[in-house]
């Protein structure tokens, strides 16, 4: 076995993860319009959908509906950004950029984690947008540091999770056209079979069961507890976090196995 050049395996690994993430974020720096264009959708949901649905009394229990909706829309916009990574991966494969990653000595999990990390940062930029909108709409947003940290943690985790899921789907479907179809088929059910825009208790029982298997439900629950001034978690922050971490870990393991097949 030859000696390896780096300082330690841990710092080498971190360097490789950050290399991938930083390349992604450099693209964002070169083209910040992408962020602006992504601000439109959450604005529509909060301003149009939210304002109308807020007229329905008691939809979200005692909570003002817009307050209830804001963390859900935040989670949704993070989900949509993260799902974009799968199509980007197919794009990179078609161009040949992916091969540069795959012939490098970086462990395959480092390549996946790097993408996931950059998705987390992209997700945070969505949070800034949703927070600004929330202030404008008079939503009871909490700016307490520990609450903000909680939101950051849940966004980063949720975003990384759905990015990795999207990479897995990309590795399976392999073409942009198929991914477009699957992407729609994936994001809408994930969104609607969650507690993002209505409480789980309003759902029929079968849908309640599905929504409990849905990672987005746990992300929204965590965000609801941290984003709002009087936010509460109905599931429990600890469980939310645990479910997301466990799901993410499993998905990274699967993605790292499938990712090299994209280069074949």
């Amino acid at each position: 076995m030859a000696k390896y050049a780096g300082i330690s395996p841990v710092t080498d690994y971190a360097t490789q993860v950050l290399a991938v993430a930083d390349a992604e974020l450099s693209k964002l720096r070169h083209d910040p319009m992408e962020l602006l264009s992504r601000a439109v959708q959450p604005a529509l949901w909060l301003v149009l959908f939210g304002q109308v649905m807020a007229q329905v009394r008691g939809l979200a229990g005692d909570i003002n509906y817009l307050d209830f909706l804001a963390p859900g829309i935040l989670a949704q916009s993070v989900l949509f950004v993260a799902i974009f990574y799968g199509i980007a991966a197919i794009w990179e494969r078609d161009l040949g950029v992916l091969h540069r990653y795959l012939v490098s000595p970086a462990p395959r999990t480092a390549l996946v984690l790097g993408k996931a990390l950059s998705s987390g940062v992209r997700g945070l930029s969505q949070a800034v947008v949703v927070y600004v909108l929330s202030f404008v709409l008079g939503i009871q947003v909490s700016l307490e540091p520990r609450h903000v940290l909680g939101v950051i943690a849940f966004i980063a985790l949720g975003s990384a999770l759905f990015c990795t899921l999207s990479l897995i789907v990309a590795c399976i479907v392999r073409t942009r056209e198929r991914f477009m179809g699957i992407g729609q088929m994936l994001t809408m059910p994930i969104f609607f079979a969650s507690n993002a825009i209505y409480p789980i208790r309003l759902m029929p029982l079968w849908l309640q069961a599905i929504s409990r298997l849905n990672p987005l439900t746990y992300e929204v629950d965590g965000l609801r507890a941290f984003m709002l001034r009087n936010g509460v978690s109905t599931i429990g922050i600890g469980l939310d976090f645990l479910v997301l971490i466990a799901t993410f870990t499993a998905l990274v393991a699967i993605a790292a196995r499938l990712y090299p097949r994209m280069g074949e």
């Binding site: 030859a2 050049a5 693209k27 078609d94 091969h99």
Partner: protein
């Protein structure tokens, strides 16, 4: 061992690349069929053949991108199946498709490679500057690669693949889609790398002029098999006096070199660049 250098194998390295009965099947199709060849250290070795001859599949196996169906190979002394990480550290790879990221600058592309290969931080700037200078890209380092010409992108990709000072550079169709000037510049770069770095270069090409001018030895692939191996002059002599490499190609494959493959690959590369 110096920081950031390619690893040294435990076994001898009197050959740079050796394959033994290497095969790859895709369903019923045998893309690479029982290929056994050796590439010597410091030589420029060319794999020639038409589209679908199996060159790219062979290259993908040697660069660990694709597992073989049977047989094996050692690259820089490491086993492609058992020691893929060591193989990856020992080689530089310039794929046929565009591998530089158009949405990043030249410098950012190089930085990405430097970090993926964990070149120590204190050496990164020097190595990147050196690679940029060698490939004549210093002035364009901070421009987005999508604004580069085809020749510049190729040179950037070569710069990216040599940052970690690999012993072997593997290039899949290095000059497809380049204009004659850029093509000659890339040839010069390849020769310089061999002279100054004592690198072994394994490349594939459709281009018989390229094979003739650049390569020390050639292997002609056809339907997944190696039909003949030898120096360009030697191959030509085998076919007859006054024979060109085109004649060699036609003699061993029964095909005309004006096969559509070349044009197709050219167009594929051009459209890839436009999308980039």
């Amino acid at each position: 061992m110096p920081d950031g250098a390619a690893p040294t194998p435990s076994s001898g390295t009197d050959v740079a690349v050796s394959t033994s009965a290497l095969s790859r099947r895709f369903g019923d199709l045998v893309a690479v069929n029982n290929v056994s060849l050796s590439v010597l250290p410091g030589e420029i070795f060319g794999l020639i053949g038409s589209n679908g001859a199996g060159k790219s599949t062979l290259i993908k196996m040697l660069t660990t991108l694709l597992p073989p169906s049977s047989g094996g190979a050692r690259v820089a002394g490491f086993d492609i199946i058992g020691e893929p990480g060591q193989v990856r550290r020992s080689i530089g790879y310039v794929p046929q498709m565009l591998s530089a990221d158009g949405a990043l600058t030249g410098y950012e592309n190089l930085l990405l490679s430097a970090r993926l290969y964990v070149i120590p931080r204190r050496e990164r700037a020097d190595r990147i500057a050196e690679a940029l200078a060698m490939m004549n890209l210093t002035r364009d380092a901070d421009r987005l690669v999508q604004h580069y010409s085809g020749g510049m992108i190729r040179r950037l990709e070569i710069a990216q693949s040599m940052l970690h000072r690999p012993k072997i550079l593997v290039m899949d169709e290095p000059t497809v889609g380049l204009d004659p000037l850029a093509r000659h510049a890339v040839w010069d770069d390849i020769r310089t790398l061999r002279e100054t770095r004592r690198m072994t270069i394994l490349l594939t090409t459709h281009d018989m002029e390229e094979a003739d001018e650049l390569c020390d030895r050639l292997a002609l692939m056809h339907h997944g098999r190696i039909e003949v191996i030898g120096a360009p002059a030697e191959l030509k002599r085998q076919v007859g006096p006054e024979a060109t490499l085109d004649d060699v190609f036609a003699h061993f494959t029964g095909l005309d070199i004006e096969a559509e493959g070349y044009r197709q690959a050219r167009e594929a590369r051009r459209s890839a660049r436009e999308h980039g």
